[in-house]
């Protein structure tokens, strides 16, 4: 699958494996994330520059979006993180996942992706479970 393929409900297949997706946790991205959400907590630990854990949202969502072009209108319903190691500025993450569920509830279409991110040393940094709501109507993509 390529990112030229717009995500459609029909394309999703439970059990499909996503990734590996490479994500560079650069100083620039970390600085922009911290400024965006005004998070300047614990910028360093034992002399190592850290990123806020919530930045992990980006590689975990982009894992799906490298498989399918982002589906306009998809929204977050649930997000679980298990943090296993501090996220270092400069870490090169490899993210893999699997589409674990598709279901209907109250007329809405949900899909769930479970994923894991490890750094360049092979240290598992975090696990994620994301539940998304797939839109019922088409929304025009931005240019």
């Amino acid at each position: 699958m390529s990112s030229d393929t717009v995500l459609t409900w029909e394309l999703l297949t439970v059990g499909e494996r996503l990734g590996p997706y490479r994500y560079a946790c650069t100083a620039d991205v970390v600085a922009r994330f911290r400024d965006a959400v005004d998070d300047h907590e614990l910028e360093e630990l034992d002399g190592v520059a850290l990123a806020p854990p919530a930045l992990l949202t980006f590689p975990f969502l982009q894992l799906v979006e490298t498989w399918y072009a982002p589906r306009p209108g998809t929204v977050h319903a649930r997000q679980d993180f298990t943090l296993l190691a501090p996220l270092r500025v400069g870490a090169d993450l490899t993210v893999t996942g699997v589409l674990t569920s598709m279901h209907l509830r109250r007329g809405r279409r949900y899909y769930e992706v479970q994923a894991s991110a490890s750094d360049e040393r092979g240290v598992e940094v975090a696990r994620s479970t994301t539940l998304g709501i797939y839109p019922d109507v088409d929304v025009e993509r931005q240019p």
Binding site: V29, V37, F58, Q62, P72, H76, D80, V139
Partner: protein
């Protein structure tokens, strides 16, 4: 924390006004072009009154509150489970709160809410 680490203790809250600049900066950092965050028209097509913020902006605010209160332990071994229960309209002010519900292991009930007290995220954090 506003008190000792015991059941019922409240974590120090954090607040952020999620205006258009915040949404634009977050979307740019995350390479997220979903038009429902930037276009009132796109959001209205899905039944929202106007553009809505990325849900994980409020999630990031909760994580920031947990880091502020729990420090290195949080970023090293925290577990966070969030349920998005209402959209955040762009321009809203969101406050992240937490209350300790157990201490061994530590469990915190977390909640992000808008100025009128409406919950936008509810969940739990554990250490």
């Amino acid at each position: 924390m506003t008190g000792p680490l015991q059941v019922g203790a409240e974590l120090r809250p954090v607040t952020l006004t999620v205006d258009g600049a915040v949404v634009a900066a977050y979307g740019d950092a995350g390479r997220d072009p979903n038009p429902i965050h930037f276009s009132d028209q796109a959001a209205q097509a899905l039944g929202f009154p106007r553009a809505i913020a990325h849900g994980m902006i409020s999630g990031a605010l909760l994580s920031r509150m947990l880091t502020r209160n729990l420090g290195a332990a949080w970023v090293t071994a925290g577990q966070l489970s969030l349920r998005f229960v209402a959209p955040v309209l762009v321009g809203s002010t969101v406050t992240a709160r937490g209350v300790v519900t157990a201490v061994d292991p530590l469990v915190v009930a977390v909640r992000a809410e808008t100025d009128d007290g409406t919950a936008v995220i509810v969940g739990t954090a554990q250490l």
